[in-house]
């Protein structure tokens, strides 16, 4: 995103907003009144955006929905760790937008948004086109703080891949892992909170360990962590010990896990206490809301987007909703499941608002499966409601898989993890 052209754009487009207001008291009435259907534009075709586009159409076929996504296919981050473990190929993680277009009547545009004019309710696209909307949904995922650690950069990611957006980076990391010698050291740098997919780095360490155990069993994995605790920690550590012995070493922030400096030429990482040399480094940088959210003034000074928990409407710009990893969604984690749940609530709220109704009570859910080994799955679940404190977890519900479960339980969760993937993919892109 270049220096924001938003201000200039505002000047040009400012006058257009007043006319649109009358148009959508009810979609039916808008159509009858000859003003056309209510228009929603969704930016970003991932778990949040694609769900929102589909569910808007399901809830009210009278709403015109345009989904803007630069790529004509989407490779999911969920299950991309399994590629590293040799359990999946990239093709099985690759989704497209054909069904959204053909079956659900979503107008999918493979375009890039360069500017949002909140006051004028218009978007500017890279092709030079301008799009008007009645409500906008922004679901751009995450971006990286490239300069948070000395020596790391977008260019350095070609040597020390992040692989935290699935695609070429996943394949690059896999290539490096396959080229590593038996007895080599794989270092995973886990990011500070908040970040996309809290159990993800630890599932990744598990899948790398699975590959190494089969092919390069003398190798070692070190997780250098900025944090002192992590998601499903006890379950991961029990599973690692049981299946991989002492192959995986986790170094928490309090014991010198925070990386201060990297050197891509020497393949070294410096913490406050140590200097580590690695054969392969998976460096997952600190994160912010997606670029377009930052550039459009939707984020706060910490880089994430404050929203009304009932509708996911931005607290910075009315008429714009922010869902998925970019939003500040209270107790909900930044997961694909949560993004999809937020998207469904956002879609229902938008349809209600178009009809002049008060949106119904939200119900938000998360379930995240992680795979420690092919037949060893674990999960965390949560049910969430909106209270005066925002999105909070329903007490007494949710939580992680039981600690001392039999092998059959872990195997069942591995199977259900795959079942979850099949279901959510068909629920979103099918």
């Amino acid at each position: 995103m270049s220096k924001i052209t938003r201000r200039d754009f505002l000047k040009i487009a400012g006058a257009a907003s007043a006319a649109g207001v009358l148009g959508y008291a009810s979609t039916a009435r808008a159509a009858e009144g000859g003003q056309g259907a209510a228009r929603v534009v969704v930016v970003g075709g991932g778990f949040g955006g694609a769900t929102c586009a589909k569910y808007l159409r399901r809830l009210d076929p009278g709403v015109a929905v345009t989904l803007i996504e630069p790529s004509n296919q989407f490779i999911t981050c969920p299950f991309s760790n399994l590629v590293l473990g040799g359990l999946r190929d990239m093709g099985s993680l690759t989704q497209n937008y054909d069904t959204l277009k053909k079956k659900h009547g979503v107008n999918v545009m493979h375009e890039t948004v360069t500017g949002i004019d909140a006051a004028g309710k218009k978007l500017k696209l890279k092709s030079g086109k301008t799009l008007s909307y009645d409500r906008l949904v922004v679901s751009p995922g995450i971006d990286f703080k490239w300069d948070a650690v000395e020596g790391y950069s977008e260019k350095a990611a070609e040597v020390m891949p992040h692989a935290w957006k699935a695609g070429p980076q996943t394949l690059l990391l896999q290539k490096k892992l396959k080229a590593m010698k038996n007895g080599g050291t794989f270092i995973l740098v886990s990011p500070p909170n908040p970040f996309r997919c809290p159990p993800g780095p630890y599932e990744r360490a598990s899948m790398v360990a699975h590959y190494l155990k089969e092919h390069k069993p003398k190798s070692k994995i070190i997780i250098l962590d900025a944090k002192d605790a992590f998601s499903k920690q006890g379950l991961f550590q029990d599973g690692w010990k049981k299946i991989y012995g002492d192959m995986i070493e986790w170094v928490p922030g309090a014991k010198g896990g925070t990386v201060k400096k990297v050197n891509v030429k020497k393949m070294t990482l410096e913490t406050e206490l140590d200097k580590h040399k690695a054969d392969v480094v998976n460096f997952i940088p600190a994160q912010t809301a997606g670029k377009i959210a930052l550039a459009s003034g939707l984020a706060d000074d910490k880089g994430w987007c404050p929203v009304d928990p009932k509708t996911f409407e931005s607290k910075m710009h009315p008429g714009i909703h922010v869902i998925g990893d970019s939003s500040i969604a209270g107790a909900l984690p930044k997961s694909g499941f949560a993004a999809s749940s937020e998207a469904k609530m956002c879609a229902a709220a938008i349809v209600a608002l178009f009809k002049g109704e008060t949106p119904a009570e939200n119900s938000l859910v998360n379930t995240c499966y992680s795979l420690i080994a092919p037949k060893y799955g674990i999960s965390v679940a949560g049910v969430y409601k909106v209270t005066e404190k925002g999105i909070t977890e329903v007490p007494g519900a949710g939580g992680v898989s039981p600690k001392d479960a039999p092998d059959s339980f872990r195997e069942q969760e591995a199977k259900y993890g795959a079942g979850w993937y099949a279901s959510i993919i068909s629920d979103i892109w099918g």
């Binding site: 499941f337 969760e413 259900y416 979850w420 099949a422």
Partner: protein, 122 residues
Amino acid sequence: MKIQNSLSTLLLTAAFLAGCATEPPPPAKAAPATPAAAAPAPPPSPAAVRNMISNCYSCHGTDGRSPGAIPSLTGKNAEQALLVLKEFKSGQLAATVMTRHAKGYTDAELEALANYIGTNLR
């Protein structure tokens, strides 16, 4: 009565869960049901029920039709669905995640979800 109840539960469980029939027993003794709040919660509105049920689709497939290993929600009547949901909530019925999910809903919400399953998810 008691015997009859547990018998029908068993049958329904088998019927409802299909793919879950081989599910392992709970590792620890099942926790007792969370005590209900002092005043019974009012039933959720139809739109709120649609919001709730839509979250189920992320694991059970759109409109409860699962394409994979997780059981579908289709083909159950409201009574069957409610019995299973309540037993997930109480922990009487063993499950991997459903015991954790069911505890997040009031009895009135489970009833509304069961009615939705019985009426709309064929």
